[in-house]
């Protein structure tokens, strides 16, 4: 396909050298933490909030330490610790995270404290932990990791900008390795706020029925995902070869961008072995995923993931984790499969994620 004919020249995004993923860790509604894989039996939720299956923190921290840490800090720290351990990396040279909401628990607690204590003498802990880069700073402290450190807080572009930042650090010859992650939590109050915006389904829906839904809205989830990246190929479990963000696009532009993305990486449709699609049960936005799905070849395995982890700003982290695992082990967990393809091996895997119809992202991952 001739790119020049379909898009203005300035839409061509510079390519980057593939970066190597050396570990991937997930903590979410499914028990993905204990074995670093999707469990054999998928957890079924009867209500519209898919809360964390929380790890056992006691092997990482003392009771006293735990008492001082808020929920998302605990989850973030242990997920990051395990990702670094898997990669045998003690001090990452860069730590870049993405989160849309940070610690909602602490933001809410401080909002309540201000009113409950009449703006008097307040405990600063909630305020400190509500800052979006608090987790980043604590990971750096925990691993005594000096170096580049940043936090992106842009809804469905949070993880993507974190990755792009690290990719550029590699290109600039500034680092050899990096820890990248994203984290999100859902609270009762935040659920209510989003409910007023019409984000959720009005009826109760089981997560396993989500993909067949014919109503508006979706179900809420939470998740924390950490990855170590390496410039050199040693110990790699997958490669990230392409990443593209697209803001505020319509269906046609999503389609064009997907085709351009393939062409930029010299891929034909039938060379794509699997595609993660961000279907979240919302009939108002499913035309975006449909636009990709419809043109895929019969070779391609079509996958979904939001019925497993729920919807949240940085849910793409789940797909990145699951895609990495699939490439590493050459297995697609049955719970992911939306439409089976004929491709018998996994070499090229694409992720398409859209959040609330506004932030769209494409990832290309490759087998080592």
């Amino acid at each position: 396909m001739d790119l020049a004919e379909t898009t203005p020249a300035f839409y061509l995004v510079n390519m980057f050298n593939p970066v190597h993923i050396t570990s991937a860790r997930a903590t979410c509604a499914q028990d993905t933490f204990s074995n670093n894989n999707l469990p054999e039996n998928i957890k079924v939720f009867e209500q519209n909030i898919l809360n964390y299956h929380e790890p056992d923190y006691r092997q990482y921290f003392t009771i006293m330490q735990l008492r001082r840490m808020t929920r998302i800090i605990k989850i973030g720290l242990v997920t990051a610790i395990e990702a670094l351990k898997d990669a045998k990396l003690e001090q990452p040279q860069a730590i870049v995270t993405g989160t849309a909401k940070g610690s909602m628990t602490d933001t809410e607690k401080f909002l309540h404290d201000i009113v409950d204590f009449n703006e008097g003498t307040l405990n600063p802990t909630a305020f400190i932990q509500s800052t979006y880069n608090a987790l980043n700073g604590l990971i750096a402290l925990h691993h005594d990791a000096n170096g580049y450190n940043s936090t992106y807080v842009h809804r469905g572009f949070s993880l993507e900008n974190s990755l792009m930042d690290a990719i550029m650090l590699f290109e600039e010859n500034r680092i050899e390795n990096a820890l990248i992650g994203c984290f999100e939590e859902m609270t009762a109050e935040h659920y209510e706020l989003k409910k007023k915006m019409g984000y959720w389904k009005n009826e109760s829906m089981k997560n396993i029925d989500l993909l067949n839904s014919s109503t508006e809205g979706t179900i809420a989830g939470e998740g924390t995902f950490f990855f170590t990246l390496n410039k050199a190929p040693e110990n790699a479990i997958a490669k990230l070869s392409g990443l593209r963000m697209l803001y505020n696009a319509d269906e046609a532009l999503v389609k064009t961008t997907f085709n351009n993305f393939l062409a930029e990486h010299s891929l034909e449709l039938n060379e794509v072995d699997a595609v993660f699609l961000s279907y979240n049960g919302n009939i108002q936005t499913r035309h975006f995923e449909d636009a990709i799905s419809e043109q895929l070849s019969s070779n391609t395995n079509q996958l979904a993931f939001k019925h497993l982890c729920g919807e949240f700003d940085t849910a793409a982290g789940f797909a990145l984790w699951a895609a990495t695992k699939a490439l590493q082990h050459q297995v697609l967990h049955p719970s992911l499969i939306l439409k089976k393809g004929t491709s018998s091996s996994l070499k090229n895997v694409i992720i398409y994620n859209q959040y609330n119809g506004k932030e769209h992202a494409f990832y290309l991952l490759e087998r080592i």
Binding site: V115, E119, A134, R155, N173, L193
Partner: protein
Amino acid sequence: MPGKRVFITGMGIISAIGTGVEETLVSLRNNASGIGPIEIVDTLLKSKLIAGEIKVPNEKLAELTGVKKNAYYTRTSLLGIAALQEAMQMSKLDPSRQKTGFINATTVGGMSDMEKYYFDLVDPTTKSNENGLADCLDCADCTEKIADHFNIKDWIATISTACSSSANAILYGARLIKSGQLDVAVCGGTDALTRFTLNGFNSLKNIDASPCMPFDENRNGLNLGEAAAYVIMESEEQLQRSGNKPLAELSGYQNFNEAFHPTAPSPNGEGALTAMQETIQMAGLQPADISYINVHGTATLNNDLSEGIALKRLFGENVPLFSSTKPFTGHTLAAAGAVETVFSLLSLQEQIIYANLNFKSPMPELGLYPVTSLQTDKAVMHVLSNSFGFGGNNASLLFSKYV
């Protein structure tokens, strides 16, 4: 990183010392601080604290910016649009004609407005959600409102690394240009004053109830402020197309986390030192080449001592002329790096160095004297700007006169 160069061709600002570059410059030249009683933010702390509040109510800001009536624009968004409007007019660029990105920074996002209606909004028995306010709490809301207002869509990001946020936004934008992802990067930050942050910093016990005294022996904490500031950055090739004359070159930058403490800087100034040192190296300069440093200088006990130690370690007995402009604007958090970038650009353009207001006696540990009156007879070629934040996030930027 050698190779491509990045030039600044537009700037815009709104803070307690003025709406727009012109008013800002008048205040800076006249040592006119914007710190005073709190009038607009609804807080009980207004009886105890002062701040750098912009005395323009939201209705007036909405008028000034001509925003749409059918969507909710928080104060953070309105300040951002007001500041960026000026920068866009200066560089005269149409975002749709080249790869243009918007890298924004904020720490409070829509909290400015959400905190007023929060308990109503989270109450399931009410229907209140004026113009979609419920979706405005996060940091991305203001970025998207601002980006949409100016039709910027090729790259969108929001950074929140506490007080170094907009310095990081500027260096991320520069790197996106150098890597070829963007031709134009619109970068900066916006933070409105909120009851949330006033109480937050008050709980940390690092707010001075009187005008702040950076680098002074008797400093007793910071004053908070609100502001928005943006710069337009262009690549060299893009500059040939636009024909814009650069205000300055962004010749160096660095982000460095010192991993010392969640809220306090290291006593030996390690993070500040590394950030400044590597920034100067990147520009291919020597410490002696620096004409002026706009220091972070929040006037907290820890920051100023740590930053002062870093200055001495890097520059020895020859510390360049330096001042903190926080006594003019207050600490504007995520906007601070961009606000002080505008001040640095004006320093290069006007060949002036600002007074560090309220300074009386040096810290006995260091004996460092900031500039205490406006300097108009010094050659200003290279200005270093520091932004250091919570979590050990340090960033420095270096601006060089365009010749």
